[in-house]
Amino acid sequence: MRTIVFAVFTFITAAACGQSPILHHHDAPETPSPVERVGSGTESTCPIAIGQDICATANWIIGPVLKTENRFRLSFTERLSREPIEVTSPIEVELWMPSMGHGSAPTRVTPVPDLPNTVDIENVHFIMPGDWEIRIRAFGQSGSVRLNL
């Protein structure tokens, strides 16, 4: 009996000292945290820097949430003049979990009528919670935006 008590006590001590997840964790919020922009730009001037000269702005139409299809709209402007840039070459959007080394694919890029600098990104699925990166390749350059779900 003493040995069992010793084993249980040792286990509890190990759990407490080793940053036990059950003792040290957050509960997921009811609503997803807001999108955190990354890249060389700042949110007010250049939400998503695509290379040196282009900025992209992402606005969610649906989401971002888990377990359902999300959709967002992506608009491109020149970084300095803020003038819209017409999308004339294919846009690629990739969803990636940098810490895990995998992602979710494919997304679908659809032009928006009457808005030549804008595309809708559909078929956006976040298959599990965690840190996600939306990688954008456009006009021969690339940029990314990060979010936590």
């Binding site: 759990a15 059950i22 040290h24 997921a28 080394g101």
Partner: protein, 298 residues
């Protein structure tokens, strides 16, 4: 009593429910080993695993809301056969959602048999295990399948070398198991080009023990550490990126009932939320029920 104790150890090793984790194919399987007197054993187990939370690469874990806690049932078949007193072969496969998971095959050698049950000197086994990636990995989800519960395999062939040491003393038993090995680089076809992944090394280390409550009941427990080297990925653009390493500490308790001299029932509970630190991993809780049947040489 000696036969009872050694058989219990065999069950203790193979009844670990760690293969049932929900996300990303679960852990590498604990090899099916015979450590008792039987020549052949078959195990079938049913596990119900629920994904409770996620640990980031940096920072503290986040426990999911109830609606985001993915659950999955896994059926596992495993077995082993000993054709000489020292050598044995084993294999196991998971079945989830009517789909095959990864298959593991192992060969083991009893290198250091116990001289006497009165001695504490342990028996020592060395084994090699090959994991064949027959399941569906996160890199191979079919188009239109976007749920982590669809993932039934790790995606990579893995070769591991390991060792198991176990001993008994009166009503007590104890064991230590360690294995480590690399997973093989692999390329996956993705909608936007090929993705090449170097998964790196994985190490599994487990210690445990148990106590005979009566002639037909045993209570045991174990703690594992699973360490996985950071994956490196190369996109179609040619650029290599490095993910983060993974660390998780599954802890389990196991109640064993000896139905008769041939068959055994195990009820196990494994929890990955108890011991830390944990890094870059999902955190699951698993309940499993296993039935084992043994054949002995008369």
């Amino acid at each position: 009593m000696m036969i009872w104790a050694l058989n219990v150890l065999a069950l203790m090793i193979t009844a670990n429910p760690a293969v049932a984790a929900v996300c990303c194919g679960g852990h590498a399987a604990i090899p099916a080993l015979i450590t008792g007197y039987e020549t052949t054993r078959l195990n079938s187990s049913f596990a119900r695993s629920t994904l409770i939370g996620d640990a980031p690469a940096q920072g503290i874990p986040v426990f999911r809301r109830d609606g985001d806690r993915t659950s999955r049932s896994i059926f596992r078949l495993s077995g082993a056969h000993r054709w000489e007193s020292e050598w044995q072969l084993g294999a196991g496969v998971n079945l989830a959602r009517a789909d095959f998971g990864d298959i593991d095959v192992n060969a083991a050698h009893l290198t250091f048999p116990r001289e006497s049950i009165l001695s504490l000197a342990p028996a020592g086994y060395f084994f090699a295990q090959v994991l064949i990636p027959t399941g569906t990995s996160v890199y191979e989800l079919p188009q239109g399948q976007f749920s982590e519960s669809e993932i039934t395999g790790g995606g990579f062939a893995r070769i591991s070398l390991g060792t198991l040491w176990l001993t008994t003393y009166r009503k007590w038993d104890a064991f230590a198991l360690g294995k480590a090995g690399p997973a093989l680089e692999r390329a996956f076809d993705q909608p936007n080009g090929s993705l090449r992944v170097k998964p790196g090394w994985t190490g599994d280390f487990m210690i445990g023990g148990g106590f005979a409550l009566s002639s037909v009941w045993r209570l045991g427990g174990s703690v594992s550490a699973i360490v996985q080297e950071a994956k490196r990925t190369q996109a179609s653009s040619g650029e290599w990126t490095t993910a983060s390493s993974r660390l998780v500490w599954p802890a389990s308790v196991l109640l064993t009932h000896f139905w008769d001299m041939r068959s055994t029932l195990n009820l196990a509970y494994e929890d990955e939320t108890l011991i830390g630190p944990v890094r870059n991993t999902s955190l699951s809780r698993t309940v499993s029920l296993q039935y084992s049947y043994r054949w002995s040489r008369d």
